[in-house]
Symmetry: C2
Subunit: 506 residues, 2 copies
């Protein structure tokens, strides 16, 4: 291959600098959620707004525009399919999107996002939606302004925002997969309810000392391949994973002495994200091929480790003896099968991040429905708690007793992340597809897990998914890896197989 | 007073932005010392270098130059003594200094500083100076380049660097106070040695569970007035205080189960810095009147709380019953007077931050001597361990058994902080002056401390020292507050009084 154009080299330098600057915001964002003193919130908002403004300035510089304008010949970049072409293509897309946003709006979104999150933390703690409402109102106004400025091919404001998380996807595409999935899930939930089986959920709400939970969760994250030399695990009100930069990826979780699964599966979930971040090519930092493909693909990793691996019977064949040793109080007289049934108890519940694998996607569909209505202004911010509760009742047959267990449970809207939620359900589907393929390629994954061997799967994901970064769009990547387009079928096969046998369904 | 010029308002806006940007570096710097994963060090160096470069760019912008050029009329700023004049004067000084440094050098100093600190951490842990030597060589080269570029009125390279920490001071000024102080201290150390008294130092090396140390140190920091709503206390290899911005000031300490004083007095020391930072006018963030006066004044606060308060008999009249309750193992059979004698045991020791009040200043003088020689290139980096050990022997009559207890103990040189050390001894002198004055103004401080009342002193410092920020230069501030110029006499009075009675000297 001939040498790449010098403009490409200059572009790479510029993109890395923008990446480094954005990663400074990532550190401040992580700190805001973990260690920031209460009275420091105002100053943190100033810091993040300034950095967002400076990043935006660099991301819209005339220099960047000139470099991109000079790099239209894909042949000179090694052909349409080369990494260089992917880097230029994504840089152009991102430049064009940034150019549509005025710096004032970017800074304002950052500032309001920071303060709204602080307001959300208090409102959630105090179960007081009114404290949060004015912040959400400001946020919606800014997000609608952002969506109008960005525009979308469909003319749908929501699609303009979705593009940030799942490039190329539309609300209509997603609805087309969600509608039949919802139908199938509702049937499965019904069959499980009718089975009459009642897992002893109470096992999981006994006393699990937090210090022991902490070390066990860390141990499990390490066992599946998350590196603590290049990462951390801390506490935050809402669990997240932040891939700050090469060698620095941070997970958070939250502990509740009387709820074992929250922190444990939460940590596996975030570690799944972290393993993806740690698997991205370090030397491509700041470039498309060094960043995650899409949030849907990101969630395919987290949900796979959390559910396909972490909630499997074989995983606990390996880990349960350790769990019993670490938690003799609650677990010494509980058998593996009862524990396994308890962690896979399927029933309607309030909190999305703690929902079982079957009902989880229904939580997503609810949010997808509401956030589209918020963006289109068909749903007023003041009406969110009421409409949340009504919709929740329609999906789950019960009404949240307070907003902490209802519309205040998630961090996303406070942070302005509209269009993010559907990627969780996409991730469940992508994850099922990858997992089936890994099984075909690697042989008996379940035997490996039972023996405590998780690195073959991790290495397979490193090679087949992580190493590509954003070289391919999500639909392309899935086709390359599995030979199939996005489909709900592998997910439904997994759920029907696993819960069919667990609940003795036909 | 008439309205301030619009250029002044614009200058304030610009200075605040620079302050906000620098405070982003402060967060990343704090994180580097506390929570950064090992493999993230390289990327952190890139982040800090980029931010340093961007800050430097703003601090040398033509816009800033124009605003300063338009603000030469002190009358229009409310007179030479007004806060606005102080803000402009310090902004001009800082602008002129920045203009002398090329951006490349600023970024390189930042990058090398970050990596050298990481190298220092490993070298110190492994007691292996050779690991650190190449980094210190690079640092010295850059610091000499920096000092030459900055220049100084005396023509002394060291003075050019000292200006960053103690504006207006020179090495010759400092030497002039240090020479008689050294003489007096050596005499006092001799008299104490000859007294034949042998405090039971062993008391302090019994087992003090770290979790209990942690909560006790936090409790004491809170009791003297450090606010945890606007601050934190974490762990780091080298204790420090970072005043990030309004409402966010962070202390660190380190715990050793078998050395009680390290973390406890270290925390009081850092809390003293933190109380100063928390006492600066929040609405003047980014301006001279919103920042600390000098490092000497900063150290006057930390050393005062650590020693004049924390190592006093009356402090422990209040805290000792709590200490006995928290640490029954090591302390239940130890009387207050023996404990008090142990924490004030005067004898030559290896580690500066754990030295007693009398020998402490000798540690500083050693560093002051060596770092001047390093900057002038009379001392080669390769020779540091040997010369450190020889000089240490000359001062203390003993030779460090390894470099961890010798030249690798402090973080300063690895971070490029040359000219910082003498401010610790200045702080001891300033602190003694302030403390005498506070006693005159407030009445019987010792009776207050014995009753657990520390807020009168804290409030006095808030009002007389903290509230002024950098409105006055350190020598002026001291004269304003105490009516006297810098003098070693109050410190010597304190030391002779306290240790004279403790060791039964004449």
């Amino acid at each position: 291959m001939s040498e790449l154009p010098t403009e490409y080299t200059d572009l790479v330098t510029e993109l890395r600098q923008i990446g480094v600057l954005r990663s400074c915001s990532a550190v401040l964002g992580w700190d805001e959620q973990t260690y920031l003193p209460a009275e420091g919130a105002g100053h943190r908002a100033e810091q993040l707004a300034l950095l967002a403004g400076m990043s935006h300035e660099r991301a819209t510089s005339s220099r960047l525009g000139e470099l991109l304008a000079a790099l239209t010949d894909e042949e000179a970049l090694g052909g349409a399919d080369s990494a260089a072409s992917a880097n230029v293509r994504e840089a152009r897309r991102s430049y064009e999107r940034s150019m549509r946003l005025p710096r004032r709006l970017v800074e304002e979104l950052s500032r309001v996002g920071t303060l709204a999150q602080q307001a959300w933390v208090s409102a959630r703690r105090d179960q007081n939606y009114a404290q949060f409402q004015p912040w959400l109102e400001q946020t919606m106004q800014l997000k609608r302004e952002e969506a109008s400025a960005l525009g979308s091919e469909t003319g749908n404001l929501y699609d303009a925002l979705l593009e940030d998380y799942e490039p190329g996807a539309t609300a209509a595409d997603i609805q087309a997969v969600f509608t039949p999935l919802r139908q199938a899930l509702v049937e499965l939930v019904g069959a499980i309810r009718d089975s009459g089986a009642t897992p002893q959920e109470e096992i999981l709400t006994r006393s699990y000392p937090i210090e022991v939970q902490r070390s066990f969760a860390r141990h499990a994250a390490e066992a599946i391949g998350f590196s603590f030399d290049a990462g951390r695990l801390d506490e935050a009100a809402h669990p997240f994973c932040s891939g700050i930069g090469p060698g620095d990826c941070r997970l958070t979780t939250r502990y509740d002495e009387h709820h074992f699964p929250g922190a444990f599966f939460g940590t596996l979930h975030e570690a799944g994200h972290g393993i993806y971040e740690q698997g991205l090519p370090r030397d491509a930092f700041g470039l498309a091929v060094g960043e995650a493909c899409s949030l849907g693909i990101h969630e395919s990793q987290s949900r796979m480790w959390e559910n396909f691996v972490g909630r499997s019977h074989v995983f606990w064949q390996h880990f349960y003896p350790q769990a019993q040793q670490r938690f003799p109080g609650p677990l010494s007289t509980v058998g593996l099968d009862d524990f396994y049934a308890a962690i896979n108890d399927v029933r309607p519940s309030w909190i999305r991040v703690e929902a079982d694998e079957v009902t989880y996607n229904l939580h997503i569909m609810l949010r997808f429905e509401l956030e589209q209505a918020l963006i289109s202004d068909d749903l007023k911010v003041a009406d969110v708690p009421g409409v949340w509760n009504e919709t929740f009742h329609a999906y789950f047959g019960m009404t949240p007793p307070n907003d902490r267990l209802g519309c205040l449970q998630d961090v996303h809207w406070s942070a302005g992340l509209f269009g993010y939620f559907p990627t969780y359900a996409l991730g469940n589907m992508y994850g099922a597809q990858f997992f089936e393929q890994a099984g075909e390629d690697l042989g008996d994954l379940f035997a490996m897990f039972a023996g405590g061997e998780f690195l073959p799967l991790k290495n397979w994901l490193n090679e087949n998914v992580h190493a590509h970064g954003r070289h391919y769009r999500a639909p392309q990547l899935v086709e390359r890896v599995t030979g199939q387009p996005l489909s709900a079928e592998p997910l439904l096969r997994h759920l029907r197989g696993k819960f069919g046998s667990l609940y003795g369904l036909q």
